[in-house]
């Protein structure tokens, strides 16, 4: 049974979970009728192959983002080597590039008709045949390069927060840096790494844009095929609800794997622990530089080339409005989502009952669904609210009896909240967990409680996590396409809407202008955030 003081937290958590449950129940309700013909067809011709594809993709991306994210975070957070100061924040920049953009740059650059292979054929003759670009390996590389920052950011924060005491103790006890990493730092950072990995896997499962560019069929492909080609939104939502089940398993696994490790906050280090020299320093610089080049420099250069060839003719005053809309939506969504996620994280900490854990888990499910499916589910839920609640209410109050929700700005912001709650919640929960209960207890005994406790004790300690969360949501909203397309108010076109319009016509080169602008708009907060948290070490 929950304590009365704990029960105070229930309404907040229930409200958020209800908001997320509304669209999710649209998915579950779809099972009232089953189209046997479609299911038999999918089972016979599609699903076995697609599920195998999806499994390989999740495995490949999971291993890839963990290797990249953890190794880069370790190097930039604890070591000193040439270029570390700027690579530290630069390695976060690939996050500003949407997955579908990196995919079409990668394929455009490297495929048979692209500039690289054309050049090689000019040199070595036209019989030259290279490995296929649009392959399983290709799509895994692209997704690893766009999703590793989730792991990098969270692991880096964890490594920075571990403080110098522990690692120095490990050193005094005779552990080599390598042993200290495996036996002390890594186990302690595991919850953070797990949270980042879970986000990356959820993104991979839900991705449609990047895999489409490779024509790599995943489970999500089947959802769209069923909807667009068989005209069966019902069967498509049934498939989506199965995907949701898979994601719940991933999340459950992440919670289990997190185990009993309790992250702690110590005094931040004054300076880097390991000064790499010679070959080691060179290898560290090379590895970080390579990832940065592949994930950011090369794609941005290609976008610049395309911009110069095609995009500059499209640049006009409309871009001011596009950028302003994009910034406004990203900023508002980040503010709202982080505030709500913070309330949820506190609710779970201060009322750690089984009911609360489940409720918070439900509130985080929105992230797992393919964007378009979730967008439609939210749209259906909101139009239901309009019909059943808003219109009768407005008529009764003497209003116009018109739908108010769908097509409004607030509906779009709520859609972002539902979709990106998990993105904000992960980092916040992690930072909150690092604050030992003894700290607020001590504050209370010194007479600091309530609002004062929050602003003077919690908030300063939570700020890095809250900023990470806000950054992730902001950039994700910038890149978000399906909900923005379907639910934006008239005239509220954003940069990602423009990218959609160009790519849907196969005009990759002209998509470079909005894509590049999107990257630039997303860059600034990334740099600010990372530099801010880096100050703790410098």
């Amino acid at each position: 049974m929950a304590h009365p003081a704990q029960r105070r937290w229930y309404p907040v958590a229930f409200a958020v979970a209800l908001l997320v449950l509304l669209p999710l129940s649209v998915l579950l309700l779809s099972w009232h009728e089953i189209d046997r013909q479609i299911w038999a067809h999918l089972w016979q011709t599609q699903l076995p192959r697609l599920m195998a594809n999806t499994g390989v993709l999740v495995l490949g991306v999971g291993v890839g983002v963990t290797l990249l994210g953890v190794s880069l975070a370790w190097l930039t957070a604890l070591c000193e080597f040439p270029g570390r100061r700027w690579l530290d924040w630069a390695l976060m920049l690939p996050f500003a590039i949407p997955a579908y953009v990196l995919a079409f740059v990668f394929v455009g650059l490297l495929d048979f008709a692209g500039p690289l292979q054309t050049l090689l054929r000019d040199w070595f003759g036209s019989d030259l045949r290279l490995p296929r670009v649009r392959s399983t390996g290709g799509v895994i590389i692209v997704l690893v390069l766009v999703f590793y920052p989730y792991v990098y950011l969270l692991a880096r924060n964890a490594f920075l927060a571990q403080g110098k005491g522990l690692m120095e103790a490990a050193r005094v006890l005779g552990l080599t840096p390598w042993q200290a990493f495996w036996r002390v730092a890594l186990p302690m950072a595991r919850p953070a790494i797990g949270a980042g990995l879970a986000l990356a896997i959820m993104e991979t499962l839900a991705d449609f844009g990047a895999v489409s560019v490779f024509n790599f069929d995943t489970f999500t492909t089947a959802i769209y095929k069923t909807w667009y080609s068989f005209y069966s939104l019902t069967s498509a939502t049934q498939l989506a609800s199965l995907l949701l089940l898979a994601v719940m398993l991933v999340l459950y696994g992440e919670r289990r794997a997190r185990g009993a490790v309790r992250p702690v906050n110590e005094r931040p280090r004054g300076k880097a622990l390991y000064h790499l020299r010679g070959g080691q320093a060179l290898a560290a610089s090379f590895w970080c530089g390579l990832v940065f080049a592949c994930g950011f420099v090369i794609p941005v250069l290609q976008l610049l080339v395309w911009f110069w060839q095609r995009g500059r003719f499209d640049l006009d005053e409309r871009y001011v409005a596009l950028i302003l809309h994009t910034l406004y939506l990203g900023g508002m969504a980040a503010l709202i989502t982080v505030s709500v996620a913070l309330a949820l994280a506190f609710a779970r900490r201060l009322a750690p009952t089984r009911l609360m854990r489940t409720t918070v888990g439900v509130a985080n499910l929105g992230y797992a669904l393919p964007g378009s499916m979730l967008a439609v589910a939210i749209m259906l839920a909101f139009s239901w609210l309009d019909r059943e609640l808003v219109i009768p209410l407005s008529s009764a109050l003497g209003g116009a009896g018109k739908p108010l929700l769908l097509g409004s700005l607030s509906a779009l912001l709520l859609a972002y909240l539902i979709r990106f709650m998990a993105v904000a919640y992960g980092p916040l929960e992690n930072s909150l967990a690092r604050i030992r209960p003894s700290l607020p207890e001590a504050s209370r005994s010194l007479g600091v409680g309530g609002v004062g406790l929050f602003f003077r004790v919690y908030l300063p300690l939570l700020l890095p996590g809250a900023l990470s969360a806000a950054l992730l949501v902001f950039v994700d909203v910038l890149k978000e396409m399906p909900a923005t397309l379907l639910m934006r108010p008239f005239g509220w076109d954003t940069l990602s809407v423009r990218v959609f319009e160009m790519t849907s016509e196969g005009e990759w080169a002209r998509a470079a202008l909005p894509a590049l602008t999107l990257v630039l708009v997303g860059l600034l907060p990334v740099i600010l955030l990372i530099r801010r948290s880096a100050r703790r070490i410098g």
Binding site: T45, Y224, S229, L233, M379, R387, K402, L409, S410, F490
Partner: protein
């Protein structure tokens, strides 16, 4: 508390702002993108003073939104870029009968719904393109013949997930029946030079670069590409001229069943079928006007004239699911 109250007020206000709608404006859900539709609306606004508001998205989400909104929809008109989705919108009952003499006089019957609930506005020919370096035009004859052994390892196709290929296959089923169509499609798949492409432009570039010799794409992709690369080593071929003709799809529109401003929407749609608007609408994307009295733009006309398939375009919608399943069975990814 104070903060949450003012947040709530802001929400309500912004929600209200979204719902305000003027009387002399038409609201459009458009699957045709901004730059291919806005100039047409702008021309109409300049001529009549009637404003046009629109959002763009893919057909399926727009249709889902129309259905969900039902009688409360703000939308007066739905524009799609293929006949299949118009047929589907008609099946779902979100369009109303146009019953317009103007439209019936301007647009031939095979480019309109048989029940009069939508009309085509521009034609999109999906034809064969070949490498001018490795293929003589006299080697080509029909879509069906691309399944012959002599094209093994030389054919490029776009993914079967694109509606244009589904429409093409749907008309093949209507003409030849499912069994023979599956044979043809299997022949195509067996002749593929490389994995299918995600878009038509990439396919044309692959023919140019020498990855394959022939392919099937819509003509306007070629029109755009050849504008940037005038020495493209690819040319269009008009197949099936001795029998049914070149496969055409269409971009078209219908007025929604619960249109708040149905009369104004119908006037706009009628205007879009007139000579005045047809030239502009088609030329924006180098398509062929659906109104036969309007000549194609000079750059489109330069590709030569051809006989188009006279099959009713709504077949694409009727047989789309069947066609997609057939393509799945044949291994067309």
């Amino acid at each position: 508390m104070q903060l949450s109250k003012s947040l709530f007020a802001a929400f309500t206000l912004s929600a209200l702002a979204g719902a305000v709608q003027a009387a002399d404006e038409v609201v459009v859900y458009s699957a045709r993108i901004d730059e291919l539709i806005k100039p047409v609306f702008d021309a109409y606004t300049e001529k009549t003073g009637v404003k046009v508001k629109f959002i763009t998205d893919k057909e399926a989400p727009l249709l889902a939104r129309l259905q969900a909104e039902g009688a409360n929809t703000p939308a007066d008109m739905l524009i799609t870029v293929d006949a299949g989705n118009l047929w589907q919108a008609e099946q779902e009952g979100v369009l109303k009968a146009l019953d317009s003499d103007v439209i019936e006089a301007n647009i031939p019957a095979q480019y309109r719904s048989s029940t009069g609930s939508w009309t085509g506005l521009s034609l999109r020919a999906r034809t064969i393109f070949y490498s001018t370096e490795r293929v003589q035009p006299n080697e080509l004859s029909t879509y069906e013949a691309l399944a012959d052994k002599n094209w093994e390892g030389r054919l490029c196709l776009r993914t079967s997930k694109k509606v244009y290929n589904q429409s093409l296959t749907a008309t093949l089923i209507e003409t030849h029946g499912a069994e023979k169509t599956e044979e043809i499609v299997k022949g195509w798949v067996a002749n593929l030079a490389t994995d299918v492409f995600p878009d038509d432009t990439a396919l044309l570039q692959a023919i140019d670069a020498g990855q394959c010799d022939v392919g099937i794409t819509n003509t306007y992709y070629y029109g755009r590409l050849v504008k940037q690369q005038p020495n493209l080593k690819v040319k269009p071929f008009w197949p099936n001229q001795a029998d049914r003709g070149v496969h055409v799809n269409l971009a078209g529109a219908g007025v929604t069943k619960h249109a708040p401003n149905a009369e104004a929407a119908q006037k706009l749609l009628e205007w879009m079928t007139t000579e005045e608007a047809q030239g502009l609408f088609a030329a924006l994307n180098q398509e062929f006007p659906a109104n036969p009295a309007v000549p194609a733009s000079p750059e489109v006309a330069a590709w030569g004239s051809f006989k188009a398939d006279s099959i009713a375009t709504e077949v694409a919608g009727k047989r789309q699911a069947e066609a997609t399943m057939l393509m799945d069975r044949a291994g067309w990814k």
